[in-house]
C-alpha cells in the first residue's frame, strides 16, 4: 500500500459524479470503486461520503431509488440526473484547466522566464 492522500477540498463531489456517471450504483460500491480506481492513493472518507450523496440528491444532481443488488438485497442506488450530467461536465472541465495550469506553474524552474 502506498501513502494515502487526503482529497483536495471540493473534489469529492466531482469524483462521486464521475463514478455515478458509469451507471446506477449504491453508496458502498462508490466507496469501493473510488479506492480501487485511484489504486488506493485516494483515501475516501466514508464518513463524509453519505452526507455528500444526500446533499447532491437534495440539490437534484443525483437521483436515488431502492433496488435489489445482485445478491438480492435492497440497496439505495444513485444515478445522475440531467442536471447532474451537466454539472459533471463543467466541473470536470474546470478541474482539467486547473490541473493543467498548476502543472505549468510547477514546471517553471527557478529563474526561467514563463
Amino acid at each position: 500500500m502506498t501513502t494515502k492522500s487526503d482529497l483536495p477540498q471540493g473534489t469529492l463531489d466531482l469524483l462521486i459524479l464521475k463514478v455515478v456517471a458509469l451507471g446506477p450504483v449504491h453508496g458502498y460500491a462508490i466507496a469501493q470503486r473510488l479506492e480501487q480506481v485511484s489504486q488506493h492513493v485516494v483515501q475516501v472518507p466514508q464518513g463524509s461520503l453519505y452526507p455528500a450523496l444526500h446533499r447532491l440528491e437534495n440539490r437534484g444532481i443525483l437521483a436515488a431509488e431502492w433496488e435489489e443488488t445482485d445478491t438480492g438485497r435492497e440497496a439505495k442506488f444513485y444515478r445522475l440526473t440531467k442536471k447532474g450530467r451537466a454539472q459533471l461536465e463543467t466541473e470536470a472541465a474546470d478541474w482539467q484547466r486547473l490541473t493543467e495550469a498548476i502543472g505549468l506553474i510547477l514546471k517553471i524552474s527557478n529563474g526561467d522566464a514563463p
Partner: protein, 892 residues
C-alpha cells in the same frame, strides 16, 4: 420531493437513512470477512471506517437542508408539551394575551374601516374633489368652499382632463304616498353615478336631458328609503312621489350603502331641474363637486387646467369670481372629527397590551431560569446558543400565536358594540369589518408580542459558564435576572400610571363639565326641525304668515307654555358665524371678528329661559320696516365694547344685509342693540370654553330681508317649553302644525336635556374606555408585581432562612420584602409620572373640554396604584415571614 414532503415524510427518511448505512456496514463487514478477518474484528473495522453512525446520520440530516424546519417542528412539539404540562400557566398567559391583542385588534378594525380603507368606489385613486378658494375664506371655520352651479357647469363643459359630477342638499317634504314626511333630498348631476362608477340597483340613472330646467320630474330612491317607504317592492320603478307639489316618476333605485358625503340620503333628483335663484347666480356656492380623472390625465394636469379655467372665469365674471381659484384634492372620506380620538384609543389599548407582554416576559423569564440546569445540560451536549434562543422564541411564539388567534376572535365580536356605542354616529361605520388587513395586523401583533416577551428568556439562556451552572443549584445564578425582573415591574407600573392618570383627568373633566351652567333652563324644553308646506315657500309674505300661524297654533296646544322659532339650536349641529364691527368704518370681511348669529321669534328667550341682563328682548313691533334691532350676549358685549351697559349702541353686520341675492338694497347695515342676555353654551358643555367663536347675537326673523326668508325657513327649528312631560305634547303638536295643506312636518325631535347629555357623550365614552383600560392595567400590573415578588422571594428562601436563624423577626422579614416592592413601585411611579405628563398634554389636545391639570389626577391615582401594588406584595411578604429557618437551610 420538496422540503414540505421531506418534513412530512421525516419518519420514512430516517428509516431509509438507517437502512442505507446498515447496508454499507454489512457489505463492508462481509468484504473484510472474505478477506480473512474474523467476524468481530471485521465488524469493528467496518464501523471504524464509516465513523460514528450517529454523527454520519446527523451530517446527512444537515445535508437535506430542512434542518431548521425539523428543529422548528421539534421545538414546536416541545413547546406544546411544556404548555400541556403547565396548563394553568399556559391558559393564563394565552388569556391575558388574548385580551390585550383582542382589544388592540378591535381598535385597529375600527381604524382600518374608518381611516384606512379606500372609498368604496371602483378605482378610488382616480377620484378627486374640487373646491373653491378665496383668500378671505376660512376653511377651518366654514369647511371647504363649494362651487356655484354655473361655475360647475362651465368646468364640466370646458375640462378635458376631468369628468365632473356635482350634488347639493335640498331637503323637502314628500306629501304622497302616505303621511307627509321630511326627506333628505340630494340634487345630483345626471352623471354622478357613472362618474363614481356605481351601477344602480334597479332602473336607470338620470338622462342628460332630464338634468335641465323644465324637464319631466324624475327621482331616484336611496336603498334605505325604498325599503322604508316601499318595503323594497320590486315594482317600485314607474311609480311616483309628490314633492314640492310636483309629481316625480321613480326611475331608479340606488344600491344599498351608496353614500354622498357619508350619508345615504333619501331621494335624488336632477340638479338641473332646480331653478331657484341660488342655483342661477355665481355668488352662492351650493354644489359639491366630485370628479374622476380621465384616462391618461394626471393630478398635476388637472390642477393646471382648473387654474386656467378659474382665471378665465375670474376675468369674465369679475364681480363674483375675482380672486376665486379652484382647488383639486384626492377625494377622501371626511373623518377628521374622529381621527385623533381613534389613534388615541389605539395608543391607550396598546399600553394595556404592553403591560400584558411585560407580565408574560417576567413569567417566562422566571421559568427559563428555573430551567437553567436543563438548558445548561443541553449546551454541554453541544447545542449552540442560536439553537437555544430559537427554542425559547418558538415557545413564546406559540403562546403569542395562540393568544393572537383567540384575540382576533375576540376582536371580531368586540368591534361591533364599540361601533354601536360610539357617541353620535361614527363616520364610515358601515366600512368597519374584519378584512385581510385586520388579520395581518392581528397576526403581526401576536408575533411581535411573542418575540417581545420571548426575548428576555432567550437572551438569558445560559451559554457561558455552563460548568458553573451545572455544578451549582439554579439558585445562585439568579442575580442578573433580578434586574430584568425589576425592570418589568417598573415599566408595568409606569404604564399603568399613564393610563390611570388619563382616566383620572377624563373623570375630573366630566365632573367639571357636568357642573357647568348651560345658560338655558333645560327642564321641559324640546327642539325639533320643521319644514313648512312647500306651497307657501314661493312668497316671503306667505312664509312669514305661515310661521306666524305655526307659532299661534302651537301656543294653543294644551301643555305648551311657550313656543318659538330659531335657526340654530344650541348644542345641536349647525351654526351661523357672521362677522360684525362696532363702528361704521367696517373693514373687509376677513378682518372682522365673528359671532354666532341666531334668527329667532320674540318668545325665544322665554322658551329657553335665558337670563335677560339689560334692555329688552324682541317683541311683535320688531318687523319689516321698523328699525333693525339685535340682542347680544354678555360675551359679545365684552368682546365688542369691553363692558356690559351697551343697550342703545350699534353693531355693523354687513353679511346679514347684502350677503344674499335678492336681499334688496338695504339702506344701512347697522343694527341697534336693544338688549343684553346671558351667554348660552352653543358648542355644548365641553366645547364652548375652548371654541374660537363664542360671542352670540340674536336678530328677529320678522326683520329678515325677503331674499333670506325661504332659505332660512328651510333651516328653521321650533323650540317648545311645556308644562308637562315634553313627549306627551309631541303628537298633538304634530297634528296641530300640519298646516292647511296637511304637508307640514316636524322631525328630529330632541329634548334640550338630551342635547346637553349628548354634548358630553364623547367625554363619557372616552372616560368609560379609559376607565376599563386603566382598570385592566392596574389588574395586570398587580398580577405582575405579585408574580415577580413571589418568584424573587422564593429564590431568597435560604437567605431569609439564614436571617431568621440569625434572629430576624417576622416583621423585619416582611418589611424586607415590602421594601423591595416599594422600591420598584416608587421608581415606576416616578418614571410613569413623567410619561403621564406627556400623555396628559396629548389628551388635552385631543379631547374637548380637558384641562391640563394632571396634579389632581396624580393625587387620586397614585395612592390607588401604590395601595394595589402593596396589596399584591403582601402575600409573598407574608409567606416569607413564615419561612422556617430549619427547612429553608436544608433546602440548599
Amino acid at each position: 420531493m420538496n422540503w414540505w414532503h421531506r418534513l412530512l415524510r421525516r419518519k420514512t427518511m430516517e428509516d431509509q437513512l438507517e437502512k442505507e448505512l446498515r447496508f454499507h456496514l454489512e457489505q463492508h463487514t462481509a468484504q473484510l470477512i472474505a478477506n480473512g478477518l474474523d467476524p468481530a474484528e471485521a465488524r469493528r473495522r467496518a464501523r471504524l471506517g464509516l465513523g460514528g453512525p450517529e454523527q454520519v446520520k446527523e451530517e446527512c440530516r444537515d445535508a437535506r437542508g430542512t434542518r431548521w424546519l425539523e428543529d422548528f417542528w421539534q421545538d414546536l412539539r416541545y413547546a406544546m408539551r411544556t404548555m400541556r404540562k403547565q396548563a394553568g400557566f399556559a391558559a393564563m398567559a394565552v388569556l391575558t394575551l388574548a385580551l390585550g391583542i383582542g382589544a388592540t385588534t378591535a381598535m385597529f378594525t375600527v381604524i382600518n374601516g374608518v381611516l384606512l380603507r379606500p372609498l368604496p368606489y371602483p378605482d378610488p385613486n382616480r377620484l378627486v374633489a374640487v373646491h373653491g378658494h378665496t383668500d378671505t375664506w376660512n376653511a377651518e371655520v366654514y369647511g371647504e368652499q363649494n362651487l356655484s352651479y354655473l361655475d360647475f357647469l362651465d368646468f364640466q363643459r370646458l375640462s378635458r382632463s376631468l369628468d365632473l359630477a356635482g350634488f347639493s342638499f335640498n331637503p323637502t317634504t314628500v306629501s304622497d304616498p302616505g303621511e307627509p314626511e321630511y326627506v333628505d333630498r340630494r340634487e345630483i348631476s345626471s352623471n354622478l353615478f357613472s362618474v363614481l362608477g356605481i351601477p344602480l340597483l334597479q332602473g336607470r340613472s338620470f338622462l342628460p336631458e332630464e338634468d335641465q330646467p323644465g324637464a319631466t320630474p324624475v327621482v331616484i330612491l336611496s336603498y334605505s328609503y325604498w325599503q322604508r317607504r316601499f318595503a323594497g317592492d320590486g315594482k317600485t320603478i314607474g311609480k311616483s312621489l309628490v314633492m314640492d307639489q310636483h309629481r316625480y316618476t321613480i326611475v331608479g333605485i340606488a344600491p344599498a350603502g351608496f353614500r354622498t358625503l357619508g350619508e345615504e340620503g333619501d331621494v335624488f333628483t336632477p340638479i338641473g331641474q332646480n331653478t331657484q335663484t341660488y342655483m342661477r347666480v355665481r355668488r352662492s356656492h351650493p354644489v359639491l363637486v366630485e370628479a374622476r380623472l380621465r384616462p391618461a390625465s394626471t393630478l398635476a394636469q388637472v390642477r393646471a387646467e382648473l387654474e386656467l379655467i378659474g382665471l378665465h372665469l375670474a376675468e369674465q365674471y369679475r364681480d363674483t369670481n375675482a380672486g376665486r381659484s379652484f382647488v383639486v384634492d384626492p377625494l377622501r372620506p371626511n373623518v377628521r372629527s374622529v381621527r385623533s380620538t381613534l389613534w388615541l384609543l389605539l395608543g391607550a389599548v396598546s399600553l394595556v397590551l404592553l403591560i400584558a407582554c411585560a407580565n408574560l416576559a417576567s413569567l417566562l423569564l422566571a421559568r427559563a431560569i428555573s430551567r437553567g440546569r436543563e438548558l445548561g445540560m443541553r449546551v454541554a451536549l453541544g447545542a449552540s446558543r442560536g439553537r437555544l434562543v430559537r427554542q425559547c422564541l418558538t415557545e413564546s411564539a406559540v403562546l403569542g400565536l395562540a393568544g393572537g388567534v383567540l384575540g382576533i376572535l375576540l376582536a371580531a365580536i368586540a368591534f361591533r358594540p364599540f361601533v354601536a356605542f360610539w357617541p353620535g354616529a361614527l363616520p364610515r361605520a358601515e366600512e368597519v369589518h374584519l378584512d385581510w388587513r385586520v388579520l395581518v395586523f392581528g397576526l403581526a401583533v401576536s408575533f411581535l408580542c411573542g418575540f417581545l416577551f420571548g426575548l428576555a428568556p432567550a437572551i438569558r439562556a445560559p451559554f457561558r459558564n455552563v460548568d458553573a451552572i451545572l455544578r451549582s443549584g439554579s439558585r445562585t445564578v439568579v442575580g442578573g435576572s433580578r434586574q430584568l425582573h425589576r425592570g418589568f415591574v417598573i415599566s408595568e407600573i409606569a404604564i399603568a400610571i399613564v393610563l390611570l392618570v388619563a382616566a383620572g383627568m377624563l373623570g375630573r373633566t366630566l365632573l367639571r363639565l357636568t357642573a357647568l351652567d348651560t345658560g338655558i333652563d333645560m327642564h321641559n324644553v324640546f327642539a325639533a326641525r320643521m319644514a313648512l308646506s312647500p306651497s307657501v315657500l314661493e312668497k316671503p309674505e306667505q312664509i312669514r304668515a305661515a310661521w306666524k300661524e305655526v307659532l299661534d297654533r302651537g301656543r294653543s296646544v294644551p301643555g305648551v307654555r311657550a313656543i318659538a322659532m330659531v335657526d340654530t339650536v344650541p348644542m345641536r349641529e349647525g351654526n351661523n358665524q357672521i362677522g360684525y364691527w362696532p363702528s361704521a368704518d367696517v373693514p373687509p370681511e376677513d378682518k372682522q371678528p365673528l359671532a354666532l348669529a341666531a334668527s329667532v321669534s320674540p318668545d325665544y328667550l322665554r322658551v329657553m329661559g335665558i337670563a335677560l341682563r339689560s334692555g329688552r328682548f324682541f317683541d311683535d313691533h320688531d318687523r319689516q320696516g321698523s328699525a333693525p334691532v339685535i340682542v347680544i350676549d354678555e360675551v359679545l358685549a365684552q368682546e365688542a365694547f369691553g363692558r356690559q351697559d351697551v343697550v342703545g349702541k350699534k353693531l355693523w353686520i354687513e353679511s346679514l344685509v347684502g350677503g344674499f341675492p335678492n336681499a334688496g338694497a338695504a339702506p344701512s347695515s347697522s343694527f341697534e342693540i336693544v338688549g343684553v342676555v346671558g351667554h348660552v353654551r352653543q358648542w355644548g358643555l365641553a366645547g364652548d370654553d375652548q371654541a374660537r367663536v363664542r360671542a352670540q347675537f340674536y336678530y328677529p326673523f320678522a326683520q329678515l330681508p325677503d331674499g333670506f326668508t325661504r332659505r332660512w325657513s328651510e333651516l328653521m327649528s321650533i323650540v317648545v317649553r311645556t308644562d308637562v312631560e315634553p313627549s306627551s305634547v309631541e303628537s298633538s303638536l304634530h297634528r296641530e302644525l300640519r298646516g292647511s295643506t296637511g304637508d307640514q312636518v316636524i322631525y328630529e325631535v330632541h329634548t334640550m336635556e338630551n342635547l346637553v347629555q349628548d354634548s358630553l357623550a364623547p367625554q363619557r365614552f372616552l372616560l368609560l374606555l379609559f376607565g376599563i383600560f386603566a382598570g385592566l392595567a392596574l389588574l395586570l400590573a398587580s398580577i405582575g408585581i405579585y408574580g415577580v415578588l413571589a418568584y424573587l422571594t422564593n429564590q431568597r428562601v435560604p437567605e431569609i432562612g439564614v436571617r431568621v436563624a440569625m434572629g430576624a423577626s417576622r416583621h423585619q422579614v416582611m418589611w424586607l420584602v415590602l421594601r423591595h416592592s416599594l422600591g420598584m413601585v416608587l421608581l415606576g411611579v416616578g418614571v410613569g409620572s413623567v410619561a403621564a405628563l406627556a400623555a396628559a398634554r396629548v389628551l388635552q389636545r385631543t379631547v374637548e373640554g380637558v384641562q391640563f391639570a394632571p396634579l389632581s389626577a396624580f393625587a387620586v391615582t397614585i395612592p390607588v396604584l401604590v395601595f394595589a401594588a402593596l396589596l399584591a406584595s403582601f402575600l409573598p411578604a407574608l409567606r416569607a415571614s413564615r419561612i422556617d429557618p430549619v427547612t429553608a437551610l436544608r433546602q440548599e
